[in-house]
Amino acid sequence: MFFNSLAFAIFLPIVFFLYWFVFNKNKSTQNALLIVASYYFYSCWDWRFLFLLVFSTFLDYYTGIQIEKGKSEKSRKFWFWLSIIVNLGFLGIFKYYNFFAASFAEMFTSFGFKVSPVLLNVILPVGISFYTFHGLSYVIDIYYKRIKAEYNFVDYSLFVSYFPLLVAGPIERATHLLPQVKLKREFDLEKAKEGICQIVWGLVKKVVIADTCAVYANAIFDHYTSMNTFSLILGAIYFAFQIYGDFSGYSDIALGVSKLFGIDLLRNFNYPYFSRDIAEFWRRWHISLSSWFRDYLYIPLGGSKGGLWMKIRNTFIIFIVSGFWHGANWTYIVWGFINAVYFLPLLLSNSNRNNIDSVVLKWDLESLKTIFSILFTFLLTCIAWVFFRARTISDAFLYLRRIVTDWNFSLQYLDNERYNYEIIVMVGIFVLVEWFNRTKVEPISGKNSLLKIALAIMAIIAFGTYSDYKEFIYFQF
């Protein structure tokens, strides 16, 4: 059940009605309803993986309590590592086993040994990377005594399986979400209206921007060997907007839906393409994942406190692991590596926190420099996205090589019977709308919101791409 499906359009109002009109006695009934709804939502993909979700929930719930109750450090450590190993074990088996087996076999073959690894014929349970990270952060926080264990199983289950964030995040923290689910939610009109605005804007991003860009990006990436420099540049830009619209659109819908139930989720995107350097980009892109890796990997490894080599090592570890989190493919690892290369000079020159404030432009030279920085950061991001999108690393290199060697800027007619430039105006308008609303969560709420909703709906209806339907990219992660 996708957020942009008819099934969800029926599911959401039913749950909303039951939540506020039938199960609104106290927080326990509210939570119970949300869990049932969440499990139903999840089972719409594959009910068999529901057992995995329930097992993962129970494991972290139980080990969390055992860690807190643990009298000796040895016992605390035992439960802590049990949870870590089992959680990562599941992730490893379902997501990475085949990749490692195939990679080792390839390595042995290159040394002259013929190896036929046993590959698992399993599909990746949707959302496993997200709910596993929920559970991990919870257990780690209890182990380091940052939070208390949750003894109410229903409340804890909701923290893990809350349907708006279950399959593609944002990756919530117990410190943020659990206190909210432990209180009865009262209906808040303004919050609900904000939620609607965020849902509508999320749909614009997904249906109008991401899915339309996907049609062009796919046509260019899938036939890059016959594309010229201009088409290849556009292909990379289209993919940049496809993945942004797709994932941030999903996050917006998730946050908006959650607001309808009176629960705030962590913000996941903050206009990342207006970043002035890569460090700022990573503070604005997939914020919940970046901060997760920062808090549970980078800082425990020593962060930027150690010597030069320690800083370099930690930077590469966090970016490569972040790339690998996205999928079991070398292209994601290289994508992470490239971002580490981009980030490192900023870290070493202590300028990684130079651009904390929001962008303000005036009619002066400084603003021109800012615009140049934004465009340069976007260029770097697009180069990295080529690796993220390409099928193999060599495809990505060939794609980039063709951009600089072909040097032909004529307009090409694509395989899907469209010209390569057709949606530039639409992407341009989208960028302008976001630019002029960059201080807000989304551009719709506020003054004249009903009129803006009308325009957004008109865009969804008239300009959305429906026949080349695409599911959300991040579901596969």
Binding site: L189, K193, I461, G464, T465
Partner: protein
């Protein structure tokens, strides 16, 4: 909560109004399109007189050289539609009758398309902008499973088939961007392709014993005193020995079999589609057999 529900109702009303407005706007624009495709050109046309109208799929569109008919003084237009099935061919003929076309002969390409009586969504979608303006179109779609949505939900058809009749197509009409669909009197000549697919496995293909839309075309012609000529058109060497055309002949004895009029692969762009040269040879034979004056 009451205020919120009112807010939601307002959004629904706004959405419905937008859908109605867009539906009206798109339909108005499609109603004024004449140069982008065969369907619009018929829907938005005045009374026409034809000696010959050619109907069928791409195997009609690419095989009947209308100009050769014209050169003999036979007023002809090739209304074959690439990707189309008999569902669309039948609807096209009904539309012409509705628009009071005077037609003496209909040549129908009836061979591979006899194997199904379903609509070809990519082609049939192009009739949908006119569903409220043509009783014939409305009735033709009436038994399709999503008829109610397509007919009653404003703008639904433009959303469902956005790649065919959505914003891009509407915008191209506004820009008056022409296509080549109406060039060469509807005939689309093909060139020889180096990598043309010369394999087409039709061994397991079977013609339906009573194709609903074939029978419909036949009866429309009878009712309107139109001479009905059904023909099977040639295919490449690869299909020789696969007895699909014999099966057609057995089920529909009145269909003329021209499978072997042109055989050699050099006259084919792909297995089911002849080149311009092959089409000319085939058309010459049709002219000789049916329009010898």
């Amino acid at each position: 909560m009451k205020k919120f529900l009112l807010y939601i109702v307002k959004i629904f009303v706004v959405t419905a109004l937008i859908a109605v407005f867009l539906d009206g706007l798109y339909t108005y624009i499609f109603m004024h399109s004449k140069n982008r495709g065969k369907i619009e050109s018929v829907v938005n046309s005045e009374v026409q007189k034809y000696d010959v109208v050619i109907l069928g799929s791409s195997r009609a569109n690419n095989h009947f050289v209308s100009q050769m008919f014209q050169d003999k003084g036979i007023k002809t237009f090739n209304y074959g539609m690439s990707g189309g099935h008999l569902f669309e061919a039948s609807l096209m003929l009904k539309l012409m009758i509705e628009r009071k076309y005077q037609i003496k002969n209909v040549i129908l390409e009836a061979d591979l398309n006899l194997s199904n009586d379903k609509q070809s969504e990519g082609v049939s979608a192009k009739f949908l902008p006119f569903i409220h303006n043509s009783e014939v179109i409305k009735k033709h779609f009436e038994h399709e499973k999503d008829f109610n949505e397509l007919h009653f939900i404003p703008f639904y058809r433009y959303i469902k088939y956005d790649s065919k009749i959505g914003f891009r197509e509407m915008f191209k009409i506004v820009k008056k961007e022409e296509t080549n669909a109406l060039d060469n009197l509807g005939f689309y000549p093909l060139k020889k392709h180096k990598n043309g697919n010369m394999k087409n496995n039709i061994v397991s293909l079977n013609p339906l014993p009573h194709n609903k839309y074939y029978e419909e075309i036949k009866s429309i012609c009878k009712k309107n005193n139109i001479n009905f000529i059904a023909v099977m058109t040639p295919m490449c060497e690869n299909v020789v020995g696969m007895n699909y055309f014999d099966k057609v002949k057995k089920a529909y004895p009145e269909i003329h079999n021209y499978e072997n009029t042109v055989i050699e692969d050099k006259y084919f762009s792909s297995c089911g589609h002849m080149t311009d040269e092959g089409a000319k040879m085939f058309t010459a034979r049709i002219l000789k057999d049916f329009f010898k004056k």
